[in-house]
Symmetry: C2
Subunit: 426 residues, 2 copies
């Protein structure tokens, strides 16, 4: 096995530039929601080169929306294909899903970016750009791991299924579609940006929208109206207190180093029609974290009850209660058993490569691991090279060395998990 390890490391060293070029080409292909076609073509091309069985298809929103775990703001996925590549094993081994999402969140305010968010600019060993960390860097680690294994001239017993999925950022429709198309396995690795930490638990999360009503009036006699903007501030502050209450209950040591284990984020606000009218409606949209110890439904019920108590904070809400909707994205919470064999294998591979013990924590955000586990019966571990703090940030970057280290660790784990046919590895 030491020989195999050396060969993998050597192959990764010799193919560094090719790996970097591949990642740069992915980053330059802006793939915000609705715009994933171009980068998926690049992925498909790479998988074709590697000789995998490639399946590229457009998910059928009209069929998928019938599924109880469908969660997407859209049902038309034209221009947004999924790609799966399968490396068939000889049989008799355990199969593995390597799942990475290809969609990225919008770049945000360009003024806050030092480099063009779609440049893939490299400075001091870091590549900058939207999606470098979340999570095209992780996807490239997976592809490098597969290619490094292929360079060894040996054959795996178990199948390797590489998922390049859309829609993770808005609820996991891409992974749901892949799972329902049959692309499941005995376990999965998802290289989301964990700072090389291993996350056996994945926080769930879901989107909400709250309609806050006021009463309009001319701005010059604003005291005759009730500002929905002022009331929205009260609602936001009330939700902040719910976040506090929910997080005080979290005692799992996997969350010890996370300031807010299950955050509630208010991400959007919009309201009012006219600068000189008192705003009569404001809509706020956000994301509620769901602990692996609770269900989506329990978290929703708690939010509803909490918002009903707004009338105790401000009597306005007694006559004009807010309206709560759950819409768009939703990520199921998920977890893999702490003693699952893939946990042991991945930890072992990590220690072989990095010569230290990995940090094992709970994921501060939802991933497609919930769907893989709950719908695809594929227990999942989240582990990847990206920088957690830079996900969704301006100046998002990834340390390129980590992309290759993660590739090495994952390659070793795949060999161990899937098994090598005819004992070629000795």
């Amino acid at each position: 096995m030491q020989a195999v390890k050396s060969k993998i490391k050597q192959w990764l060293d010799e193919n560094k530039q090719e790996g970097i070029d591949l990642l740069q080409s992915f980053v330059q292909a802006d793939s915000i929601q609705g715009n994933e076609q171009h980068v998926q073509q690049l992925v498909k091309q790479k998988l074709d080169e590697l000789g995998l069985q490639v399946d590229m298809w457009t998910p059928d929103g009209d069929v998928l929306k019938q599924h109880p775990y469908f969660a997407s703001p859209r049902t038309d996925f034209t221009g947004s294909p999924n790609v799966v590549g399968v490396l068939k094993g000889t049989g008799g081994g355990r199969s593995i899903v390597l799942n990475g999402h290809i969609d990225v969140v919008p770049a945000g305010d360009r003024d806050q970016w030092e480099y063009d968010p779609y440049s893939g600019e490299i400075v001091d060993g870091k590549m900058y750009g939207r999606g470098t960390t979340d999570m095209k860097g992780g996807n490239v680690s997976l592809l490098l791991a597969i290619e490094a294994i292929q360079s060894l001239d040996l054959t795996l017993k178990g199948d390797v299924l590489f998922h390049s999925v859309i829609e993770e950022e808005s609820g996991g429709l891409g992974t749901l579609a892949a799972v329902l198309r049959g692309y499941t396995a005995d376990a999965a690795i998802i290289p989301e940006p964990t700072n090389m930490k291993i996350f056996p638990k994945q926080q769930g999360s879901m989107w909400f929208r709250i309609h806050v009503k006021g009463r309009s009036a001319h701005g010059g006699t604003r005291y005759e109206g009730v500002s929905a903007i002022e009331k929205a501030f009260i609602v936001t502050e009330h939700i902040r207190k719910l976040e506090e209450a929910r997080n005080e209950r979290i005692t799992d040591p996997l969350y010890d180093n996370i300031p807010i284990p299950i955050p509630i984020n208010i991400g959007r606000i919009e309201g009012g029609e006219w600068p000189s009218s008192v705003a009569d409606i404001v809509v706020i949209e956000g994301r509620m974290g769901v602990s692996p110890e609770e269900t989506i439904e329990e978290a929703q019920a708690e939010m509803k009850t909490w918002l009903n108590q707004l009338s105790e904070v401000d009597e306005w809400f007694e006559s004009v209660p807010v309206k709560l909707e759950w819409y768009g994205a939703r990520w199921l919470p998920g977890s893999i058993d702490a003693n699952h064999e893939l946990m042991e294998i991945l930890t072992d591979a990590y220690e072989q490569v990095r010569h230290e013990q990995p940090v094992i924590e709970a994921s501060p955000w939802g991933t497609d691991g919930g769907l893989l586990t709950n719908v695809g019966d594929t227990p999942s571990i989240v582990f990847g090279p990206g920088v957690t703090e830079m996900a969704h940030f301006p100046n998002e970057f990834i340390e390129l060395d980590k992309v290759f280290e993660a590739a090495e660790i994952i390659a070793l784990a795949i060999l161990d998990w899937c098994g090598v046919a005819q004992d070629q590895s000795k």
Copy 2:
């Protein structure tokens, strides 16, 4: 004069249904910004019937935008004509402008309306709908006043100029265009909704936009970012304190009964791109009242200085200051001398009709009176039948009786101000 007064009252009584129908047709012709064509056709048709010299034209935004008091969010006024009708006097009398705007603010949240906002539904002597009070009811009072005078078979010495203008709700471009086209006079009456109060002072106002920056992050690690939404709340609260400070300085007894003489209204808010990202930019838009005792420029400077002090409230603003813009609408403050003869004449007419003294106050909002006074040298009084509290509100209505009372008062004032040729009035 008593005979004339009786005849006017009689004519108004006999033509009540026609007046109501006219108002209803105006209300049913939704005339939000950009959509004024249809109702202006109805106005023109009425003025043609009355035999006035009618001028209907589309203001030339490219020329008007050169004017220092141009204030509009647009320069293309296609589909938004102005209309002026002139009733020529025999000469030797004082002329009067009767100015009313025909544009209305958007209806807002339809669920808050008991009746369709463009129905002109009549219940218990009130007509409901957007624009009934602000200010198509006042415009109909003007038209009824002109028609009632015409029914008397006498001729005025001074000219009467009826303005049906666009854009009052967004800065007065319509009145500016009318004034620059030469439609000015010795004084003006503007029947904005004053609850039959007489406003010799008009508050100015102007629109502002404030850009508040945060720093984006993934919602699941929201503690790594800085929410522009939370910072926008701090900015809003800071502005509320500026409003307090400015209003504490107002001592003019004309404002005694007004809770907030010169309000600052935050009317719109919008920010954030994604429910599960920390918002990195929020834009708030509002309207700042300007006292008749200060200039637009002084008020702007005070706001700027105040916002610079945000860094003392929250050090975030030290490194990331907010950006302030003045945009779109602006209404100049204006005032007419308390002893101006039209004030005396209007007060006298009011007492004759209502058998009580009028309430004389300062206007809680900007009107086109500032432009008429400052650009057109036409000192203006604001007095009208609409319900101040319902302007820009859902369920806006007007008491129909007031439309006819205002018409009677204005008719008497016109007769007195413009004078009757060859002493026909005796």
